[in-house]
Symmetry: C2
Subunit: 514 residues, 2 copies
């Protein structure tokens, strides 16, 4: 672990260095996870072949719809698909053949090269919650999210050492016009953090803006030749590709930028109620979506996505951390690996309204399964509450602390001579104590994962300190992290150009809230 | 799932049947888990061989101590060990050879034969928390446990459908003299529940009493020929077998009753700070303990135990749900399977003082890993709080609800024609809805695991109902389950004989609180 994690001060000029010295705040960060453990293979070869054959049948006989998208239909015709109206049927094997040009893994660059991530292979990149219109904290309760909230979540992400990615819509800044939000959101990720980030997907021009702003940040040539954004393209399950999402996929794929191509499934509503049926549909949808991305630009980086929840058949509510979601997450990972694509799934999902025990059970179930499923990109790895309606400040730091566990578990078991510890067992012998032995002294600093949040104090001490629960401890940590936060240095010319771009774009169109 | 779970009314005579009809309370129960999924194999063959070879070295060169136990030392001498003082050194291979007579799996009988459990193989038997001197509930706070608390936990266990085992010391009844507690505890398990239970281990005569009471309940011949108790024998790590625990092992093994032979390890204190070192010591200890059980009686049923926590190197507190504990749990499972023994580990462990998010994260981490580790007997599967100092009423029902997830996850993925759901995908097609389709209608009742505790309501409804957190919901459920509880019928002659045995034993010796 120690070789993967280093305390870093803010980089850059003398001012930053002096500031860092004065406050002695260390911005620690951890490199993305590289698994040294196997994946959990829940499906056997026979089951995998059944699902793969069924997915081909779905594509060949049922097909998928590309809605309001004549250019896409033409691309499909040219590629050999059977197109009737908006329905696209793919001959067996066509989608899988087209998918072969997508890279098995790719590097997403950050403006701080130390924070670059490789997405694919044995890697696991952790990114925060995406999309909620509400925020919650213990003091302010549940309320519509604002840009100020958004910026604070980006700051928390920058300060969270186990988070490798700054994410995208960490909450919806509802106080900013819909047609201008993306500018403020990208600006926040670009200036308040130096980790990789996601682009806008809500309208074609906003995707173009995302590329333009990235060119200001990285330089146009660099963006032309490298991947600097990973953006979220949802499939409108079942089997439907809507034009807004395809706009995003087309813009980003053409620009060599990465997309997560992700069925959005509430099992029983947008997919069959069975796990194998859902996996079949997920695979068919991803095959079609990834194949399409390669028609736009062969070699465009993409991720096999699977956002899956169960449904509560009493209320219709989506449910999280369930065994069915776990099985789908595990099975989809196998399908993604067989397809040779990076895999996105899991997250700190929960349905709970509060960051309470329900939230933690559900989130831990999903986080653990996500690691063992071979997930390469985990969106929603911290901060998700109430089925994705709420970004919770406290839960953000609670989940982010748990992410440290994934790092350690993934590192595997050290069986070096030091790991075997035979000298310690000899030294201590029957009935002895290990605390003082030489091996313990040499290893104890890095021996165990350490929480920065949870309480291990004796009952009496904890009671005297106010008998605080996890939420109360998390509230304290949120304030400390925001207080300690320092913006990473940014070339003033770039900062000025970004601000100017945002101001000009905002001035060029009237506000719209639709 | 449906074939494994059935609603049952209390069995027995007309009075019980009428009572059941009147109240319409269903005592559901679930058969023990039989995994239809693989185990997670974290160690490769080379690592396993290193650890196994090192464990033999520990036994041969360092040895183990059998304290204050001349008969054990004589047994070891007779078996070919090198005995110096209390130190027993085992030639390479001796322990493993002796272990070969222990059964790979065994049936523990319950007085209700429907509740019999098979311990070993692909099975997973779930048992509640064991040992805490304190209890906690939201109304009464944290307090010393009493016999009334004990009896209520046994009732909750009987009512918990995902719990297969009534357990043992679900809390310490501190209002009963130490030398008489075992009588009241066993009496509660035998009369208030009809699930399998554990025997006393705290003194040789109490083990004998446990066997005697079991003979009253099951009949003497039945107990002579069958296993009706599984009891917890801790090893005093490192490498020490104390006389009280060996008394228990000797009594139970001689009587053909099962013991969990379980190193009790706080990593860094009772074992090396490294995972591989801890696994080596655990294996050496279990090898010696199981070998000894087979010297007492070849064929005696035993379980390879591993109770492992990490340590917080700042405070010295044991820590739970950590990645190091997960790695040890996974690795020890592999070692147990290679030795051909049933495996005990994991549980709803946590260090938190409250049943809050910390408790749930830690517990869920351990429960998930326990399932994937191939654990066959999981003690502490519900109710554990504050590092095992407290049995929590609310957490008991919270954890017990989560145990349903393990059942479903373990059932694996159905790839039958119905599971494949191709007709549903055809029927619904692109852009449709699955809620109303024939396949969904036919399957929705059993399609998804259903909580009986967690909240999935819309925010507004939940808010109007008092914005209750998980603990508040759990408190309601505890009261409902205790209110709905009905004692399983018991032959009045047996009930009378048990009461008489307890009364006579209690009258025969003065109270002792040591």
């Amino acid at each position: 672990m120690s070789d993967e994690m280093g305390g870093r001060r803010a980089r850059g000029g003398g001012g930053a260095a002096r500031r860092a010295d004065r406050t002695a705040v260390r911005q620690e960060f951890s490199r993305y996870i590289e698994r040294n453990i196997p994946n959990f293979e829940i499906l056997n070869e026979e089951a995998l072949q059944i699902i793969e054959a069924n997915a081909e049948t779905v594509l060949a006989e049922i097909g998928v719809n590309f809605v309001d998208n004549p250019a896409a239909l033409q691309r499909w015709r040219d590629a050999g698909a059977d197109v009737q109206g908006e329905r696209v049927r793919l001959p067996r094997g066509l989608a899988r053949t087209l998918c072969a040009t997508a890279p098995r893994s790719f590097v997403q660059h950050a403006r701080n090269a130390d924070r670059n991530v490789t997405i694919g292979g044995k890697g696991l990149v952790l990114a925060p919650v995406y999309g909620p219109p509400f925020v919650r904290d213990a003091e302010g309760g549940r309320r519509y999210a604002t840009l100020a909230d958004f910026r604070n979540f980006v700051r928390l992400g920058q300060m969270s050492k186990y988070l490798h990615h700054s994410g995208g819509t960490v909450c919806e800044p509802t106080d900013v016009p819909v047609n201008k939000r993306h500018l403020d959101m990208l600006h926040a990720h670009m200036t308040l953090a130096d980790k990789p980030y996601m682009g806008s997907v809500t309208e074609r021009s906003r995707c173009v803006d995302s590329v333009e702003m990235s060119k200001i940040l990285f330089g146009a040539d660099f963006v032309d030749q490298n991947t600097v954004m990973t953006s979220l393209v949802n499939i409108n399950s079942p089997l439907t590709f809507d034009p807004i999402m395809m706009d995003a996929l087309e813009v980003y794929a053409a620009a060599g930028q990465a997309c997560i191509i992700s069925p959005f499934i509430v099992g029983g509503a947008m997919a069959p109620v069975t796990v194998a049926g859902t996996l079949t549909q997920v695979l068919a949808e991803v095959l079609a979506g990834v194949a399409y991305s390669q028609l736009v630009r062969a070699g465009a980086p993409v991720i096999f996505g699977a956002f899956v929840t169960s449904i509560d058949m009493n209320s219709g509510a989506p449910t999280f951390g369930t065994p069915e979601a776990a099985q789908i997450t595990l099975g989809a990972g196998q399908l993604a690996r067989r397809l040779g694509l990076p895999y996105r799934s899991a997250g700190a999902f929960c349905g709970s309204k509060l960051p309470d025990a329900q939230a933690a059970y559900e989130s831990a179930n999903s986080l653990n399964i996500g690691l063992l499923s071979g997930v390469n990109f985990m969106l929603h790895a911290c901060g998700w509450l109430e089925g994705g309606l709420v970004s919770s400040f406290e839960k953000y730091v609670m989940d982010a602390d748990q992410l440290g566990i994934l790092h350690r578990l993934a590192a595997g078991i050290d069986v070096s001579a030091n790991g075997q510890a035979m000298e310690a067992i000899r030294e201590v012998g029957p009935g002895g104590h290990y605390l003082g032995c030489a091996h313990t002294q040499a290893n104890f600093k890095d021996a165990f994962w350490r929480t920065e949040l949870l309480d291990y104090k004796p009952f009496e001490t904890w009671d005297e300190e106010g008998a605080r629960d996890t939420v109360a401890l998390a509230g304290v940590r949120v304030k400390k992290m925001l207080g300690d936060y320092q913006a990473p240095d940014l070339d003033p010319a770039i900062a000025e150009a970004l601000a100017e771009f945002v101001a000009k774009k905002k001035a060029s169109v009237p506000d719209a809230f639709l």
